[in-house]
């Protein structure tokens, strides 16, 4: 790999990292797990003059529990999340989605925070973050922090609420203990970005769906939450017929891309099939 020349900074605290961002402004790129940034540098699609590596900031690592919330450090790798019993128990749909990310090497390097801030609509963690109602904690200059709901976090293609000079530090996820979960990912080869993905998590009561949350991957310029479908599913039995009807309009209003893997209208069709399957699987049907 021969990228264009850059200076390398490796702060050891969030405070130092934010200070480095303030110093270098938009000349700097933040390196999390590097699974998207390094290919970009290698192909010289971007040539930042400074790379700020978050890899040495211990406070950004790991999963903890705070009452009704899971708190995930932004630099926690996919592999660490897969190993976390807390994630598996309280945010199962995130666990299921991460199982499908690329390959073991990438899962050992890539981080949840890096993926969320990179905001590729074909990435697999945005949809579960939306479905679980995650809150994103963002650090800014002078020790300030603010919290943004996942719904407000994704602004456009590769664009999030994290502003210049800011850093995503934590992902706070309300516990969905006991909810069934499934991530239905559609790809041609296993290590591919999602053509379409559907994250579904469902609370069942007596064979019916009491609550449902559905997030969509790669159905527009950002991950999307299918709220109308969530409402339509409430009270429905977990049967093929009932779910089929409730999710029929899931692609309405979406604007998925067209590329070699499929045209926009094919993706819309896929979303209806995959949502049905994801919801039924999440409901244990």
């Amino acid at each position: 790999m021969i990228p264009a020349q850059f200076d390398y900074v490796a702060p050891s605290s969030v405070e130092e990292a934010v200070a480095a961002l303030a110093e270098h402004g938009d000349e700097a790129k933040v390196l999390a797990g590097g699974q998207s940034l390094l290919p970009i540098l290698r192909m010289r699609l971007n040539a930042p003059s400074v790379v700020i590596d978050l890899g040495r900031i211990a406070e950004l690592q790991g999963v903890s529990e705070e009452g009704d919330h899971l708190v995930i450090g932004a630099m926690t790798t996919y592999a660490a999340l897969l190993d976390s019993e807390a994630v598996n128990t309280h945010a199962a749909v995130l666990n299921k989605a991460i199982h499908t990310v690329a390959d073991p090497q990438i899962r050992h390097r890539g981080t949840i925070g890096g993926a969320l801030v990179h905001a590729d609509p074909a990435g697999d963690v945005g949809a579960p973050a939306l479905a679980l109602g995650a809150e994103l904690v963002i650090a800014g200059p002078g020790g300030s922090t603010r919290t943004v709901a996942a719904e407000d976090f994704f602004e456009d293609l590769f664009t999030t609420a994290v502003g210049e000079g800011e850093l995503l530090t934590q992902i706070r996820i309300p516990k969905h203990t006991g909810w069934g979960a499934h991530y239905e990912k559609f790809v041609r080869v296993s290590h591919q970005w999602s053509i379409v993905g559907v994250a579904a998590t469902v609370r069942s009561e007596g064979g019916s769906i009491a609550e449902a949350r559905v997030g969509l991957t790669n159905m527009g310029s950002t991950p999307l939450r299918a709220k109308a479908v969530e409402v339509a599913l409430v009270g429905k039995p977990a049967t093929d017929e009932a779910v089929r009807e409730a999710v029929a309009s899931v692609a309405d209003g979406t604007n998925p891309p067209s590329d070699l893997n499929g045209d926009s209208d094919y993706r819309k069709h896929l979303a209806t099939v995959l949502t049905r399957r994801a919801v039924l699987a999440a409901a244990g049907a």
Binding site: I2, A4, R42, D103, R188, V189, S190, H191, G262
Partner: protein, 843 residues
């Protein structure tokens, strides 16, 4: 010197041939204690970076290298103009005829760019990073020209890839069974069938593929005085040496080419490349050793591509299913230039479309066309996968037309085992084979009848997941090639192979082979062969290759030729060692030469228990102390083997695919292949070759395809978009063998390097089409993406609900057989000339 007699009662040693030996070369390859070209570091070596054209077709109006020259570490920036005398020329070895148009292929272009990625300038710097940085500072002005990218556009000659040629057609080549006397006239057979039989017309697309070898290409050139030493990640060190000498003016005797360990090729490294010539030219100009190693992106863009054909087929048959005629019309995309065997690659398929079937008449035409895309040349199978795909798809279509089981229709038409040797309608003599035996074994391993039952149940229950069974009973021609046939085909070289065996004083053996392995395990297989032939331990055999100063003669490795042609040369060299050793052994044993028998490594005297081991004779030859009069102190053997014929491996491949009709997703359920590749030297290596080949062939069916945009930019320029499969995408294959030894070689081997890649593609596509044929689908364009499968189902259903199937021929020029989703419903319909409203096989 002791005359041993203690081995008289020893039982014969276990034979090496047939043993599943782990590969000798793997220890160093796996641990990295080996030498790849990019590992080579020479004192004072410079690193090169290429400035490449982003445009598919352009005229260069100016090149400004001033800023790049002043960049840190830069030693030189070289343009095509700077090295126009002596940079050499990238050549084709196989002009199809004397009228063929082959545009000059300069390694570094001077004023005309014919495809994206062509080298415009070369930067030489102290480090690779400095070279890369400076390459971005070379300022090139281009005047863009209209680019011709599509084959069917190219044939119209409206936009020209090379305006000065006046046409995009490079050559037209024909094989006609009536004209050459190997069969009847195809038009007669088709006319007869139109009256009272079946005529099937189909058009298939062979998409463009990228070889995607593991090790990117790399070249190091060290000019030392007049001598030029070139290390390169190549399949063809001998051919490279020849072309460098032939086109640069450097005497052949001054050029040494070394292919060190090479990480894969699949045909992609049988080219002599612009990058090799450019590295040599810059090293000569600057008088310094230079290294160039491509990035993966450069490899995908600028290494040659494979396949890329439109295939029109017309098959005639009697009403009882007996095939009578086959007419093949190909358009083959050469890309921007005619590669070393680029023009000949589709012609390699000319003898294979008729495959194992007894057609009375056959006619083949190919038109090779120049376009403004990356040049196309041999890729695993080279011409034969394209042919096999087309005929095996046609046999399934014929079975569907007849409403019969496709295996049964094949059996009705194939050559039976008692008909060998059999001269095909294309004029090839197949020496041996047994299609019945391979098929019987395959169907049993597959559980053919059970899977057909399951298919029926799924159809009856309207299961959203349908099951299809695909068949490919393929043959191929390997062992390239008899030199006389190559000469008759206007090929520029011979097809022989060379070997030398050196008997060392300590009894160890050095085998020098003209083949150039790059992953095939020749070191192991050649050791097994020599161990048996000379009766020496497997461990005592060393195999040397790939350095033109050591293996001075050779034709290198491609086309499943190494074991068939190269190892036969090794066997013959070993036999010469034995013949030279015999008089020495006889002398030492005080016996007549006529009484010496050589078995299991021991020269024995008939009727006695006296004998000498090979090592003892080697030592005696080396000391020279006690040799018979007139015998030289040397028992080394050298042989060059030129085959009389090709070899014809065959096999039966069966594939079961599940098709999710809701999404178009396809999932492989089972894959069984029974290959007849003649004698097997090392079953473990064969297994590896078959598995790798299968995955590459399956990948053509399902995943891979090089795609360009309207400007001629390669869209699939990285492995994000060029979707190579991994082991996670494949299932466990069931592989087995039948054995009909080749009758042309001592060993009876037939070649296995390409079998899997040739056979598997049609098996997979046939299975997909079989799964959804009742839904009105009779073709899916490759790669069979879920979207294409789903759209084919939608199109088929739309036609079915209209209550009629349009029986128009596929050859309506206004509606070529495109992606079913993109075409009108009618053109996706069945096109049997019988005009029936067939909705497919219901078997």
């Amino acid at each position: 010197m002791t005359i041993t007699d203690d081995r008289a009662d020893a039982s014969a040693p276990e034979l090496e041939i047939g043993k599943a030996r782990a590969r000798k070369e793997d220890q160093r390859l796996i641990t990295g204690r080996t030498r790849w070209t990019d590992n080579i570091q020479l004192p004072g070596m410079l690193h090169l970076a290429m400035v490449r054209s982003p445009f598919a077709h352009a005229r260069i109006t100016s090149i400004n290298t001033d800023e790049a020259r002043q960049s840190p570490g830069v030693v030189g920036v070289v343009t095509g103009e700077d090295i126009k005398d002596g940079q050499g020329l990238v050549m084709t070895a196989w002009p199809l005829n004397n009228e063929q148009k082959s545009p000059d292929h300069l390694p570094v272009v001077i004023d005309h760019v014919a495809c994206a990625g062509e080298i415009v300038a070369v930067v030489a710097a102290r480090t690779a990073a400095e070279a890369r940085d400076a390459a971005e500072l070379v300022d090139v002005d281009y005047e863009e020209l209209p680019a011709v990218l599509d084959l069917k556009e190219a044939v119209k000659d409206e936009v020209l890839a090379h305006p000065d040629l006046g046409t995009n057609t490079s050559a037209v080549w024909t094989l006609d069974s009536a004209a050459q006397g190997s069969g009847t006239d195809v038009e007669d057979e088709i006319a007869k069938a139109r009256e009272d039989g079946i005529v099937l017309e189909r058009e298939f697309r062979q998409q463009r593929l990228i070889p995607s070898f593991m090790e990117p290409r790399s070249t190091v050139c060290d000019p030392t005085g007049e001598q030029m030493t070139v290390w390169s990640s190549t399949q063809v060190p001998h051919i490279l040496r020849f072309f460098v000498a032939a086109t640069t003016g450097i005497p052949e005797s001054k050029v040494r080419v070394i292919a060190p360990d090479v990480g894969g090729g699949f045909g992609g490294k049988l080219q002599t490349t612009p990058e090799e010539f450019a590295t040599i030219a810059v090293a000569r100009r600057l008088g310094k050793p230079c290294k160039y190693t491509e990035t993966r992106s450069e490899s995908l863009l600028s290494g040659h591509h494979g396949r890329d054909q439109w295939q029109k087929l017309t098959l005639s048959a009697r009403k009882d299913g007996t095939v009578t005629g086959l007419k093949v019309e190909l358009l083959a995309d050469l890309g921007a230039y005619v590669g070393v065997v680029g023009g000949g690659t589709p012609v390699l398929g000319a003898w294979m479309f008729n495959s194992i079937y007894k057609f009375a008449a056959y006619h083949f035409t190919v038109r090779t066309l120049l376009t403004n895309k990356t040049w196309v040349d041999a890729y695993r199978g080279a011409g034969r996968p394209e042919a096999t795909f087309a005929i095996e798809r046609m046999m399934d279509e014929l079975a569907a037309e007849l409403g019969r089981d496709p295996l049964e229709v094949r059996e009705q038409n194939w050559i039976t085992h008692d008909e060998f040797p059999f001269t095909s309608v294309a004029g090839m003599t197949y020496d041996s084979g047994n299609y019945e035996a391979a098929t019987a074994k395959a169907t049993e391993l597959f559980g053919y009848d059970e899977l057909r039952d399951e298919q029926r149940r799924r159809r009856e229950s309207n299961d959203p997941v349908q099951l299809g069974i695909g068949i490919s009973t393929f043959t191929e021609m390997c062992g390239l090639a008899p030199s006389r046939i190559l000469g008759a085909l206007n090929y520029g070289a011979g097809g022989w192979e060379s070997a030398t065996i050196r008997m060392l004083a300590t009894g160890k053996v050095e085998v020098i082979t003209g083949t150039s392995p790059h992953g095939q395990g020749h070191i192991t297989s050649w050791s097994q062969i020599v161990a048996d032939r000379l009766g020496v331990p497997f461990e005592d055999v060393e195999v040397l290759h790939g350095d033109t100063q050591i293996a001075s003669k050779g034709m290198d490795t491609y086309g499943s030729r190494s074991l068939v042609v190269g190892a036969e040369a090794v066997v013959r060299a070993a036999d010469k060692v034995i013949e030279k050793a015999k008089p020495i052994a006889a002398h030492l044993l005080e016996a007549s030469v006529d009484d010496i028998e050589f078995t299991a490594g021991r020269f024995g005297v008939k009727g006695t228990d006296k004998g000498l081991g090979m090592a003892e004779v080697a030592l005696a030859a080396w000391t020279g102390h006690n040799l018979p009069d007139g015998i030289e102190p040397n028992i080394d053997g050298e042989a060059t083997f030129d085959p009389d014929n090709f070899s014809f491996p065959h096999g039966t491949h069966l594939c079961a695919m599940e098709v999710d009709t809701e999404t178009g997703a396809t999932t492989m359920r089972k894959y069984v292949c029974v290959d007849d590749i003649g004698t097997i030297i090392n079953p473990l290596i064969v297994e590896g070759q078959v598995h790798g080949g299968l995955v590459q062939g399956i990948a053509q069916a399902l995943w891979e395809g090089a795609e360009y945009d309207d400007q001629g930019t390669l869209v699939t320029g990285s492995f994000v978009d060029y979707t190579l499969p991994t082991s996670a995408d494949t299932i466990s294959f069931v592989t087995d063998h039948t054995t009909s030894p080749s009758t042309y070689t001592t060993l009876g081997t037939k070649g296995v390097g390409e079998a899997g890649a040739i056979a598997s593609t049609p098996a997979v596509v046939n299975a997909i089409v079989d799964a959804v044929r009742p839904l009105g689908v009779d073709d899916v364009v490759m790669p069979c993406t879920p979207e294409r499968v789903w759209r084919a189902i939608q199109a088929g259903r739309a036609v079915s609900t209209e209550g009629e199937r349009d029986a128009q021929p596929h050859f309506d020029e206004d509606t070529p057989n495109q992606d079913p989703g993109a075409s009108s419903p009618g053109s996706a319909g069945s096109a049997g000339s019988s005009g029936t409203t067939s909705d497919g096989s219901q078997s």
